[in-house]
Symmetry: C2
Subunit: 314 residues, 2 copies
């Protein structure tokens, strides 16, 4: 049985990944400090015989024995990663160093959850992995973007210096059940607003674009990357190339929920990227991966999840 | 008497800065781990009553009482910063965190020696501070470039989170006495080669450009930035806008030394920037600063320094 460590395993993506790895027959060690993760996300896994939860902050050293490491620990939504920017940078940088040091000691394969944010507000569209990005190093998003860039650097330096078996995935916007209802990301915001009959808050004029990937597709991409031949280090984009404006997303959510909510415009946050779409040529050729879940299908399951969640809250 | 900490104070720029600050009547604490710094650089200051040298690595905490901090600790030449890339990143990132933590505790003003390398291989020419750069996050220069970008991020987050009094200088290529003869930087390489009658090693076809600032001008820019009104946080470019090709530099060094050395072409290192020139509009307006030393004059003193150094070595 492969022993797999998932940092950030109680979060949105991490909890789905733990589930998938258990299904695949792995022994899973989930490490999380519960900053944005929740016990509810993994409650259904606690009784599984090969699942273990360890409360720990990756900015501190971790001594465990494992074969593979998925390093996902890091708040992913702007309101959370801007809550304590220095801590966000430390999570990415010290977290990477500690997990790389661990991987080195136990000779584990290690995958980094990087992000499309390394491209910043991209001037090249869609974004291939070779694009060097346009990140404002001194802006309010920099703690996340630069922290993640620096983590990629550390991965490649451990690879070159110590021959570590690394994988770097650049994850594009992902959505699905277990997003936090209040973490400010657009899909969860819009669905919760629609279900509650509140105004749908579109930032800016809503003409900015994103490309949304359903969580099961994303998790499958990560697992394929981990299992790919060793020369496939990445960085490799994982995301759904179907691009749309935020206004269009708002309309779809309203349609799907049959909500009476109305769109209202709010100020665009500083450094908010205008467009984003993954070029997934590499993922297709190197991993044989492409997304399979249509937006409509994915949104339906996500709406169903939030409907249940809000019903309990009432 | 102002108590000033200079990290990396035994290095090329640091030693000139310490000298200048002593001249200005400051009490100077020079902190260095002697990775690329040398005791020779500060030997002449050791007997000054207000100069103190402390051997210390900035990746570890430092508890001292000072009024101002110039954070220069970091190897600056590719062969040194690529010697142990992970250590380079740690020096920039942990070093920044420790010095910011110190500045926060003692309420000191703190200046970061950032670099034109945050612009990577720039697609915009000349480079204004607003340019977001083109850095390869997974290449061999990334440990330096991304480490410095991340340090800038930390400076601005401490500024926003803790109201720290910060300054960020983006230093462009600087030359002068006390460069290491063997650290691979172009000015020292060419001069040493010319003086020894060895071949002048031009990388690539020599058509790449740089803009070289003499060290006394640079140091003056740093001191002005530190003394500027508190709202002048930067980042601000400090460098000499006079741009030239590397081949032209080689020719000038040959002319100036009267050497019989010949130019030979060597492979261009990966990710070597093609062009670089500071836009110093901001430094002029906010600091009343511009460089004053002509290249010919600056090269002459540098040649004189290396002539003496090599004479001793023989
Ligand atoms: N969801 C997306 O659209 C997206 C896009 C790009 C990248 N990513 C990356 O994927 C990873 C997971 O994202 P997510 O959407 O699941 O976010 P999330 O916030 O739901 O999950 C992050 C998890 O990491 C934990 N964590 C944070 N700091 C920690 C620390 N110092 N030590 C231990 N645990 C810590 C949190 O408690 C949480 O459980 C992140 O690294 C994120 O940057 C996500
Ligand atoms: N010289 C340039 O052209 C140039 C250009 C851009 C930026 N800079 C920046 O200016 C600063 C000084 O550059 P320099 O040209 O004098 O380089 P240098 O290598 O001569 O000096 C750096 C000094 O820092 C010390 N140091 C390195 N790591 C340390 C650590 N962990 N703890 C304590 N001391 C440490 C070294 O021993 C050395 O004395 C650097 O931060 C560099 O990135 C220089
Ligand atoms: O099993 C381990 C081994 C290392 N580390 C951390 O990883 C860091 C980097 O380790 P590495 O061996 O690369 O370098 P070191 O810092 O030990 O020189 C160390 O400082 C430890 O904090 C860890 O958390 N678990
Ligand atoms: O209630 C919201 C939340 C987000 N957004 C916008 O939706 C896009 C995606 O935001 P999110 O925070 O989900 O992801 P990221 O910006 O990190 O891609 C951005 O343009 C946001 O400004 C919005 O219009 N309304
Ligand atoms: O006088 C000081 C105060 C702090 N630090 C270091 O600076 C870091 C950041 O300090 P800060 O107070 O910002 O945060 P902390 O880590 O203490 O929460 C600390 O971890 C210490 O390592 C230091 O070297 N000297
Ligand atoms: O012996 C040398 C050393 C450097 N260079 C080139 O000179 C330029 C400046 O190099 P340096 O390392 O001094 O500074 P940086 O590249 O960091 O600006 C680069 O294009 C190098 O490839 C060169 O042609 N010959």
């Amino acid at each position: 049985r492969k022993r797999v460590l998932v940092t950030g395993g109680a979060g949105f993506l991490g909890s789905h990944l733990c589930e998938r790895l258990l299904t695949d027959g792995c022994e899973v060690l989930c490490v999380d400090n519960f900053f944005t993760g929740r016990r509810e996300n993994i409650a259904h896994l606690m009784s599984a015989p090969y699942f273990e939860m360890l409360r720990h902050d990756v900015t501190f050293p971790l001594y465990v024995e494992v074969d593979e490491i998925y390093n996902l620990a890091c708040p992913a939504s702007p309101i959370h990663y801007q809550f304590d920017p220095v801590q966000t940078t430390k999570t990415s940088v010290h977290g990477a160093i500690n997990m790389l040091g661990l991987a080195k000691r136990v000779k584990a394969k290690i995958l980094q959850a990087s992000t499309s944010e390394v491209y910043g507000d991209p001037q090249l569209h869609p974004q291939p992995e070779s694009y060097r990005g346009s990140v404002n190093p001194v802006g309010p998003r920099a703690c996340y973007d630069e922290g993640k860039r620096c983590a990629e650097t550390l991965f490649f330096d451990y690879y070159r210096q110590h021959n570590l078996n690394i994988r770097v995935a650049r994850i594009f916007n992902t959505y699905g059940p277990r997003m936090l209802p209040n973490d400010g990301r657009v899909v969860s915001n819009f669905i919760v607003q629609a279900l509650k009959g509140e105004n749908i808050t579109v930032y800016g004029d809503g003409s900015q674009t994103r490309s949304f990937c359903y969580v099961s597709d994303l998790v499958d991409g990560l697992v394929r990357l981990m299992n790919a031949p060793d020369e496939v280090t990445g960085p490799v984009n994982i995301g759904n190339p179907r691009e749309m404006t935020i206004l269009e997303l708002a309309q779809r959510v309203i349609d799907l929920t049959g909500s009476s909510s109305e769109v209202v415009l709010r100020p665009l946050p500083q450094d908010d990227p205008l467009q984003r779409q993954p070029d997934i040529t590499l993922a297709k050729s190197a991993l044989g991966w492409k997304p399979t879940i249509e937006l409509e299908t994915g949104l339906e399951s996500t709406v169903a999840y939030f409907r249940d969640l809000l019903a309990v809250e009432l």
